[in-house]
């Protein structure tokens, strides 16, 4: 692997959709992968099986990342089983949509906790060995909703994702000289369970005239994690078929 240090990748929310595609893509690059899931053990195990059947290494690791104590346990387990976490993909995300007058505190907090605060906690935990090892890759899965675009009904989600991009850039600048890169990927309309209720209205606005696939998002992550992307840090790579162009 071109002198790449030994370690593993952790992908949060990797039992399905974009996270599952990312886990498989990184495994195909030779990374042992921690497939994190919150509740769907069967799907996570299916992702692991697919990786192992293809000759890779992976373990399914349960953790509700919005639980502040979960991060450390999650990292310890992976460090024991697969080695230091040198690649962190903060993919787990939730939605709790509603027009702003109807978003209650719980729905606001839940989305901020998982999409933003948990991503920060995991990043903070991951940076320590990355800084000392002089290599690391953090990729935060953001969204075009937020910094790039408004989407009525998603004030909480948009705020969390815009915050995630801001965090990405700041942390990137802090650790760049240690060989650690921190980037974001901002998917547009991607065909997953999470977006199946987002209608055709948005699709008509997509210049590519089709939704993207989880694999197309995973390909961007694969690049950002690669050795080739060592000088790419603090960016937000949009993958949206031209929607925000």
């Amino acid at each position: 692997m071109n002198g790449r240090p030994d370690g593993c990748a952790l992908v949060t929310g990797a039992s399905r959709g974009i996270g599952a595609a990312i886990a498989k893509a990184l495994a195909s690059e030779g990374w042992p992968v921690g497939v994190n899931y919150r509740s769907d053990a069967d799907s996570a195990e299916a992702v692991v099986k697919e990786i192992v059947d293809a000759g890779g290494r992976a373990v399914a690791v349960q953790a509700d990342i919005s639980d502040a104590d979960a991060a450390d346990a999650l990292f310890k387990r992976l460090e024991d089983e697969l080695g230091p976490v040198l690649v962190l993909v903060n993919n787990a995300g939730v939605r709790a949509d509603g027009l702003s007058p109807q978003i209650d505190d719980d729905d606001w907090q839940k989305v901020i906790d998982t999409n933003l605060s948990a991503a920060f906690r995991l990043t903070r935990r991951a940076l320590r060995p990355m800084i000392r090892g002089r290599f690391g890759r953090v990729v935060n899965i953001a969204s075009i909703v937020g910094a790039e675009r408004a989407n009525p009904g998603q004030a909480n989600y948009a705020a969390s994702k815009a915050g995630l991009v801001a965090m990405t850039k700041t942390v990137a600048a802090e650790v760049a000289r240690r060989g650690v890169t921190v980037n974001a990927v901002a998917p547009g309309l991607i065909e997953t369970d999470m977006t199946e209720d987002i209608g055709d209205g948005l699709l008509q606005l997509v210049p590519a005239r089709r939704p993207g696939t989880p694999d197309e998002v995973a390909a961007c992550v694969r690049f950002l994690v690669s050795q080739d992307a060592g000088y790419v840090t603090g960016v937000c790579l949009t993958v949206d078929g031209g929607l925000t162009a």
Partner: protein
């Protein structure tokens, strides 16, 4: 943690870390200021991690405030080792 760690050992460990951060070996001494060795805030964060990993001493941001020299850093670690 072990209280058998000596001041000299910690000082040597700090010297080694400073070299890894890029400080010139002939500039490193107990009274050299971090700033004059081009040792910056991220380096000090990493130094705190090294101390925590190897000696079990937790140094928080506020502990490090006002720590400008190797001697002060070693004093701080020794005081935490108790």
């Amino acid at each position: 943690m072990s209280t058998t760690v000596t001041r000299e050992e910690i000082e040597q460990r700090v010297f080694k870390a400073l070299e890894e951060f890029g400080a010139e070996p002939d500039q490193i001494n107990p009274d050299a200021e971090f700033e004059s060795m081009d040792v910056d805030s991220l380096d000090l964060v990493e130094l705190a991690q090294i101390v925590e990993d190897e000696y079990g001493v937790q140094l928080k941001g506020e502990d490090m405030e006002g720590v400008k020299t190797v001697r002060q850093a070693v004093d701080l670690v020794m005081s935490k080792l108790g």
